[in-house]
Amino acid sequence: MSEEQLIFKRSKALTDAYFHYCPGCTHGIAHRLIAEVIEEMDIQDKTIGVCPVGCSVLAYNYFDVDIHEASHGRAPAVATGIRRTLPQDRYVFTYQGDGDLASIGMAEIVHAANRGEKITVVFINNAIYGMTGGQMAPTTLPGMRTTTSPYGRDTALCGHPIRMCELLNTLVEPVFVARGAVTTPKYINRAKKLLRQAFELQHTGFTFVELLSTCPTGWGLTPENSVAWLERNMVPFFPLSVFREPAAMPAAATKYAPDLKVKDDAKA
């Protein structure tokens, strides 16, 4: 037994507090992946997190880095205030849910992305408002039942779910936009690579990683069935892909040069 070998331990970038998340919820996995990236990049002393209202608002208890709570949807604005203030060698990330980011915080995320804020946004998409009790989110799937869409999401009444990666990929500034998932070992390994890429590219521009996640409590499914449900229903609508990376920056970013002389000429 002296051969005992430690092969798995808590990341140094996490505190020893117990997560408050429900059984089967994938927030814990996402937290761990981010913490591992911070630890492996050795940037714990340079990282500032921003966690807004949602199930993860208490994440300041879990990440062992300097951290801001934020109001609902405003994390990219708070992160902007931090990024524009602290030395450039710092790493700033936000950790936001889909109600937060794609509904009340839509202006903040689009404009932070459009300004090319040098931050990493981790977007947890579980197609539901978890913290407030399972209400319909902007990402709720057509026909999906929630506490505020008891007959299923009626697209005639409230439209289709928003695909954030695809939306942000229309902008010029983002340098990395990708969607992953955290429901299978394969997905988890890939998600960590995406997060690592995003953090590594952060100082060159805006980086965005969406992670499809489960909410067994909100969905009314067992953790096991939640994983299967996500695979069956979410992945087809929210394809797992890297939408933007430095090698695939839009040409418009460099080639568009407006002719601003017209006004002067007219005056002359």
Binding site: H68, E69, S71, I82, E108
Partner: protein, 353 residues
């Protein structure tokens, strides 16, 4: 710049320059009339001094950028006007709850709703009693000249840092739009230690958390008690006011602040020429209201007249101090209409009838 140079400046631009001289290098704002010269000035000057001007996508975002920057430990400010200030209220409440210093300039315009863009004092209640949800206060400074606005900007940053609390400089549209000669103070910028700031956690300390969430009601209660101990210190130490022609204990005292106080002064001078004994009490801190100083005037005064560019908001604080011992009359005009010297004189004459 030479020592004590007099410059002719517009109020908004003087406020912006005073902020920079007070060590502010970060500004987040959103355009709204009548204060656009502040962000315009900042967008020109801040890059020249190594600072950051950023136009936010909304007032809500601007106040949250303020929260992020303030939490990082720098001197930061925003400016707006009434409807914009209302939108910023979300961030202000978080600033108070998380004890983050920041300076907010409100150049008030007429309301409610979209109202108009003329000078008003209709935000007194919002700034002194409201300023977002929950139990909290901000210090509110009300300048009555451009020079005083300059002086109060430096004070605002110091008070914000000293108390870890947002501080408002509340001017009406006139303070923002008129030009007056100003001298910028030469005092060096005070630097406050901010060990609580979230700047990146060295291995030598625990992680700093910028937070206003306390899910346990008793814990939140303790936090709010802590905030209110601070507000009591502000009440004890930060009341500021000016008196004008009160030395001979006149029976009539006008209470007015900001530009309204200047117009009242002119009316008082005119009335004094005709033998009317009258003076002025001017709050400089709208919060904490100068309760002690006003209390000292009550005994010798027969009647108070509150004059405001609103339907009467400060008057409630005056009444709170004066109580039922003396009548507190009111004259004001809302909607961006500015009460004139003649109107004030007329109101004073009505009092003596």
């Amino acid at each position: 710049m030479a020592t004590a140079q007099r410059l002719l400046m517009k109020g908004t631009e003087a406020i912006a320059e005073a902020a920079i001289r007070a060590g502010c290098r970060h500004f987040f704002g959103y355009p709204i009339t009548p204060q656009n010269e502040i962000p315009e000035y900042m967008s020109k000057r801040l890059p020249q001094v190594g600072g950051v001007y950023l136009q936010a996508e909304s007032e809500v975002s601007a106040s949250n950028m303020l929260y992020g920057a303030g939490g990082s430990g720098v001197r930061v400010m925003t400016s707006s006007s009434s409807p914009g200030i209302a939108l910023m209220a979300e961030g202000f409440s978080y600033l108070c709850g998380s004890e983050i210093p920041a300076v907010v300039v409100n150049i008030m315009r007429g309301g409610p709703g979209l109202g108009d863009i003329q000078p008003s004092q209709g935000d007194y209640a919002m700034c002194t009693k409201g300023f977002g949800h929950g139990d909290k206060h901000a210090i509110v400074l009300a300048p009555s000249t451009v020079q005083e606005a300059v002086d109060l900007m430096a004070l605002a940053f110091d008070l914000a840092d000293q108390y870890r609390n947002p501080c408002v400089v509340m001017g009406d549209g006139l303070i923002g739009q008129m030009m007056e000669p100003v001298t910028f103070p030469e005092a060096p910028v005070k630097v406050y230690d901010k060990p609580w700031a979230a700047t990146g956690k060295p291995p030598t300390r625990k992680h700093n958390i910028i937070n206003s969430l306390y899910l346990d009601p008793e814990e939140l209660e303790r936090h709010v008690y802590h905030l209110f101990e601070k507000y009591e210190r502000m009440r004890a130490d930060e009341q500021r006011h000016e008196t004008f022609m009160l030395d001979d204990a006149p029976p009539v005292v006008i209470c007015a602040y900001g530009t309204m106080a200047r117009i009242a002064k002119t009316a008082i001078r005119e009335l004094r020429k005709t033998g009317v004994k009258i003076g002025l009490f001017r709050p400089i801190t709208a919060w904490p209201f100068p309760v002690e100083a006003l209390s000292g005037v009550v005994q010798s005064t027969k009647v108070f007249l509150a004059v405001e560019m609103s339907m009467g908001q400060m008057i409630e604080d005056v009444r709170m101090v004066v109580g039922r011992d003396r009548p507190v009359k009111f004259f004001g005009r809302p909607g961006g209409v500015i009460p004139t010297v003649e109107e004030i004189i007329h109101q004073v004459k009505l009092l003596s009838n």
